[in-house]
Symmetry: C2
Subunit: 306 residues, 2 copies
């Protein structure tokens, strides 16, 4: 079965009551729980052998990553995380020390971002180690930023550098929570997503939800050193890795032209943190303006876990 | 590792900020998300081979059970479920039809109780089929009922009949949502829990959180027909099965004496739905008054999944 098609199938069939402002199909769902506040909710399941490898990775780093992924989802809505619940399936015979290391990693990052772990479920099973984090977020008077607001003429910004995350970053990334909040508090952001599937795949999510297309400028893409390293291993270009590796957990944001300019001159972000990599156009699809100024069609490709 | 000891270890170390009214250690966490409403949250992970068996059970029944378990947790707080997010790990090579049957079961019970599925995560892995449900609930002006309010002199009530759930009921139980809400709306309930670990184990959770003990009356325990059937198979008494099988998903409620009497004469519950099975005492521990009127000490034993 195809994961994306199946989610689409669910989405088309799911009823939506009036208190559900945003249901299936964005980084978080947004619920109207009260008069003065919105409640954001996101859930992520990570399993050994797919999202990390316990032969290589320490339990503390796995716990940290599980929490960081959910923080990144809330960051991409421009909102703030508040509490989380964690389910863990430990393989039979798991040692106490492993479980304690896991929680050390969970608490390290949860404390850093003032997130309370308020509950969970602990089971043991025959399968591999598996962890699920559900995190709630709050909007604190801000408007959550969805995938669906991009308009022709808008600029496309991205935080950090892209590609080659498999070498290291996919385990140790810092979720862009502060950047997401700063963008939402100080600027008009039309659409935002975090890059988990890959730049072109996640850009494509924004384009599809917004009914628009995009041009990316090859000379503006912030290609990471690890994308270069990967390209030497694989024979693919570093740009290819920046486009499709995924698990960068950077923010991809779409803003009106003048707002995008303001972001870059605001002094609110460290130099080099935010790049303007392209613009939104009416015609559907993704195009690349290469170094010679030629427009090439790009197929949205991303890392697929399954 | 011991699941209960590890949860205790986590609980002792987890920080708790002022918006967390109830954190780890009850059926749901309770969060102060706004001025006018409380937010309840519960999470449950179910895995093939432990909580169900896909060689025997239909995917739709598994989906239904996963949702029903979370509803039962919110019912045991006397509150109302609102939305849920669902993570699923499908074993590699899972057929589309299986996934669709799973969601048919999920929607059947979610629609019945007006719960919106607002998001999720779908992955595939090398291990067995695994599903995690996180459900939010709302208090709608009611006070959530915790495990910790039982007082000496209170009466112990239970819904339905107990024991032998493994034969059938653990897959097909109806969560006692209406009963939980009726109890909370119309009576003073000091403590409540749903019976997932087993009558004596879950009663013990209430007793430990409340710092009290209990006497159960053998002649008042509602022993199910399936507990009788099981006793013929195992050689244990039917009472033993009613005490310790678990996964009954009935409600165990503790009320002041006069309130408990009112529940039974109120006409709000179908005849036979609610039994008064014992009373709370100051001395710690669980005692059974047997048919001969003799007091016997009972060790809290429950079904442990892991």
């Amino acid at each position: 079965m195809d994961e994306f098609l199946f989610i689409q199938w669910i989405r088309n069939r799911q009823k939506k009551s009036k208190n559900v402002i945003c249901g299936i199909g964005d980084d978080c769902a947004v619920i109207n729980t009260s008069k003065d506040n919105l409640c954001l909710i996101t859930t992520d399941m990570l399993v050994d052998g797919t999202h990390f490898n316990l032969k290589k990775h320490d339990a503390a780093d796995v716990g940290r990553k599980a929490i960081a992924c959910s923080i990144s989802d809330i960051a991409s809505m421009g909102c703030k995380p508040s509490v989380a619940v964690i389910s863990v399936c430990f393989p039979q015979g798991t040692k106490n020390n492993f479980a304690k290391r896991l929680y050390a990693g969970i608490w390290e990052i949860a404390d850093k971002y003032a997130i309370d772990i308020v509950g969970g479920d602990i089971i043991s099973g025959k399968g591999p180690f598996c962890i699920n984090v559900t995190m709630l977020g709050k909007n604190e008077g801000l408007r959550p930023i969805y995938r669906s607001g991009a308009k022709a003429g808008d600029k496309i910004l991205v935080t950090g550098k892209l590609g080659g995350s498999l070498l290291d970053k996919h385990m140790f990334f810092e979720p862009r929570l502060n950047e997401g909040l700063k963008l939402n508090k100080n600027f008009t952001v039309h659409a935002m997503i975090d890059i988990s599937d890959g730049l072109t795949a996640d850009l494509n999510h924004i384009l599809e939800e917004s009914g628009v297309g995009a041009i990316l400028f090859e000379d503006k893409i912030p290609v990471s050193d690890d994308a270069l390293k990967m390209s030497k291993k694989t024979g693919n270009t570093a740009l290819h890795h920046a486009f499709s590796d995924g698990e960068d957990y950077e923010l991809l944001a779409v803003l009106p032209k003048l707002q995008a300019k303001k972001v870059q001159t605001s002094g609110l972000f460290q130099r080099g943190t935010i790049s303007c990599i392209g613009e939104i156009i009416e015609d559907h699809g993704i195009w690349l303006k290469n170094l010679k100024g030629k427009l090439l069609r790009v197929q949205p490709k991303g890392y697929k876990h399954s």
